[in-house]
Symmetry: C2
Subunit: 368 residues, 2 copies
Amino acid sequence: MEAHLASSAGAASPSAGASSSAASPPLTYAATGVRQDLVALALGKLLAAARTNVPPGSGQPVKLPGHFAGLIRLGRETVAITTDNVGTKLLLARTLDRWEEVGEDVVAVNVNDLAAVGARPSALVDYIAVQTPVPSVFEAIGKGMARGLRESRCHLVGGETSVVPDLVKSLDLSGTALGFFPHGRSPVTGSQLRPGDVLIGLPSSGFHANGYTLIRRLLEENAVDVTRALPGDRLPLGQRLLAPTRIYTRPVESLMDARLAVALAHISGRGLRNLIRLNGKVRFLLDQLPPPEGMFRWVATLSGLPSEELYQTFNMGIGFIVAVRPKQVDRALGLLRKSGEKGARVIGRIEKGRGVYLPGEGVRYETY
Amino acid sequence: MEAHLASSAGAASPSAGASSSAASPPLTYAATGVRQDLVALALGKLLAAARTNVPPGSGQPVKLPGHFAGLIRLGRETVAITTDNVGTKLLLARTLDRWEEVGEDVVAVNVNDLAAVGARPSALVDYIAVQTPVPSVFEAIGKGMARGLRESRCHLVGGETSVVPDLVKSLDLSGTALGFFPHGRSPVTGSQLRPGDVLIGLPSSGFHANGYTLIRRLLEENAVDVTRALPGDRLPLGQRLLAPTRIYTRPVESLMDARLAVALAHISGRGLRNLIRLNGKVRFLLDQLPPPEGMFRWVATLSGLPSEELYQTFNMGIGFIVAVRPKQVDRALGLLRKSGEKGARVIGRIEKGRGVYLPGEGVRYETY
């Protein structure tokens, strides 16, 4: 239940009459009309009302407050389950009529959340709610899903396609993934973190599937031509923006098999604030973050947003963070690079205290 | 993958210019604009494109062609997974501003699909895509979910709430449920069916969560006042129409524990055609179906639809069907009644042949 996390991918003011106003003051998520407090309130009401006592015999939920996946003990196995959607990146896919990337995303956003508790992905089901099923669109989504499934070694075991033109505006895509803990592996929660542990960052492939409502507003308000490349880039911006979410299951598996992971964090919605979900009794010091490059510099410049807002809205170049004991850093970096993560690098460490601290940006987050 | 079944809950012609034309000829699902063939084509493309080889080590999918749930062997356990949505019944909930029933529905539609393979429900995650989160609506959905979770003995272990006003028109609600097979119980597929086996029907509570696009069109075209009761009824029609999907996990568990279930079918979208999914090499003779009563008679009269269309669109009073060996009928009926299914009754039997045959209605279905 605690894993039920609100994600506000949405925006554009919920009130029908809202206009897309001028770009100053800077366009934050709050300003786009997504009322994070309202989401939290509504979700709190749902969770309080949904609380019920289930008699024994139906499996035993494993408490994992505020975590990326739900866990349940079923007979002799512990199973992890995640559910997540692609969100408003789908509207960019529609604009560009490119659907493979979001097909890969629906796998990625879910298996990365499994990786964040140390579970090995096993099965995925997808959910498509659509106004009109277009075979070529479905085929492209399927192709992207295949890539994601192959990379994460996950089986597609079911799904639901629902033609509901009265419910959705074009196409909504979400999924649910199932993972497990092979060979007595235990879930990784971050509760074992202690000062001195080292934080290693894995590069992202772009904005992944978060922050697109803001990005779409920026594109619109600045009349950006997404068919052109940014200076120094060869690919059109639209393609860069659609780049599928990087899948971190392979590097995480290599660390899990070597029992090196002390904490794991998927940097998705809420950006670096996600670290706080791992452990509220230590401080995450990120003093070696790489400077934002490419699209991240572009979004910073175009939006004029302060760092505090940028790092809690976008992944800013780091899509996944792993914590290891200080003596294991070299071994961990070696395994990560061997598993394909050439860009893995130390970005900080655990200190006494609480929250997340980015000294280079002068940013502190105290709560998730 | 084979469990990926298309459901066309949608309707209202997908082309924007379609008008809601007069009620003759009779309003079938095809006529409302849901192109079942197009859905099947699109989904086929997705599944073909999504096919990929997953190396061993990530669990072993259990083949269950055309079935209600996906199955995967994870370590020492077999896990069943289903994903389904409430569909356009949500629009009726919005019209009447009553949300508890659909909250119960999202649990019911999923756990009933688990029951249909003989799995015991264990965990659920929900997915809400919403234009604006309204706390009172979320609270009501949560209350309904609690009822469904309690009845099916299922734990809520996670979920996703996404505020995406650019993607959805008001609120879309779906879920994914996980079940398992305790004490070496095996999945029930219907492959062991043979002539002579007896079909027992369990009453539905109404239309459950299927056929609402058609129902909404009928209400609109006939200017039906849903705040009034049908003749002889005391509850307003709107409340009858919103009645939550009946949950069949308790009676099915009692049969599974006694090892009596030879086949199990959740009568959801596609109505009695669902039986064909169980076994294509026998005939399902339904010669003792109860005559449609109450809302089912009402929808038959108002729509003027032929029986063939009615029984493949609505459950027509029977929401779940179990098959048992002829010698076990009395024992099965006893267990079902003890588990609360007072209305359980024999509705037919298995014969040589194929398809579904309703002699009283002169209806034959040969394919799903």
